[in-house]
């Protein structure tokens, strides 16, 4: 067990504060920073998809 004071002022900057840390909106941040053009050209961002093809058979076509 160490003897460090859990409320060591040095650790919290020496200023007692009851203000919660500022939370940045992830969405706001994303909207402000446009996607780099290089990112748009990167492959592998999409997932495999299933495609079903249906066609009518024409029997007896000459």
């Amino acid at each position: 067990m160490n003897n460090q004071n859990p409320f060591d002022k040095e650790y919290v900057g020496g200023m007692p504060s009851t203000i919660a840390p500022e939370s940045k909106s992830g969405t706001k941040q994303f909207l402000k920073e446009p996607v780099e053009p290089q990112e748009l050209k990167r492959y592998g961002t999409s997932k495999p998809t299933r495609v079903v093809v249906r066609a009518k058979l024409i029997h007896g076509k000459g």
Binding site: Y43, G44, K47, P48, T49, V52, V53, R54, H59
Partner: protein
């Protein structure tokens, strides 16, 4: 970081990374209607041994007469590359309605994945010159594709070829995965 080259050869080669490759799930005829279901994989890597691909290419497209069709490949083995971020979350096949086991990226499973110590997967972190996100090859999902079809796909959808040693590493790990033996407890 894996090395890969953007230059392409005319023939299919082991380590080729190709876009939008189709895997036919089934074809059925029902009540005068033909129904075909296929899965389109955004990225696959060619696993078939390069010597086999070279021989098949010479057989199919060279003008040299041959007495047999002995070197013809009926199909080429490929495996899908999934976005590593999707693999961590277990959602790489969510578009197919399939849920996969997530891999904790910050703990041992994630570390093992990135160090290629998980037999089923092969992690690929491409360099800045290759426009592919960090990806994971899933050996369990290998499938075969017609060689002539894949060559046409390569002409349109070639991405890069994984460099020597790195592609042999993938092939060797794939062979080990297929040859694994699960012993009863």
């Amino acid at each position: 970081m894996v090395k890969a080259r953007a230059g392409r050869t005319a023939r299919l080669a082991q380590g080729d990374v190709l876009r939008d490759v189709e895997c036919v799930e089934h074809v059925v005829e029902r009540n005068g209607q033909l129904e075909m279901a296929k899965i389109v994989f955004p990225l696959v890597v060619v696993l078939t041994q390069d010597c086999d691909l070279a021989q098949d290419y010479r057989f199919r497209w060279s003008r040299q007469p041959t007495t047999t069709e002995d070197k013809l490949l009926l199909s080429v083995l490929v495996a899908p590359l999934y976005n590593a971020e999707h693999v961590y979350n277990g959602e790489q096949l969510s578009e197919l309605g399939m849920k996969m086991v997530p891999i904790n990226r910050t703990r041992s499973p994630g570390d093992n994945l990135r160090k290629n110590e998980t037999p089923r997967f092969h992690y690929l972190d491409f360099g800045p010159s290759v426009p592919v996100v960090p990806s994971v090859v899933d050996f369990k999902h290998y499938f075969s594709v017609n060689a002539a079809y894949l060559k046409k796909v390569k002409a349109r959808n070639f991405v890069c070829r994984i460099s020597t040693l790195y592609r042999e590493d993938i092939a060797q790990r794939f062979a080990s995965f297929l040859a694994r033996i699960a012993l009863p407890d």
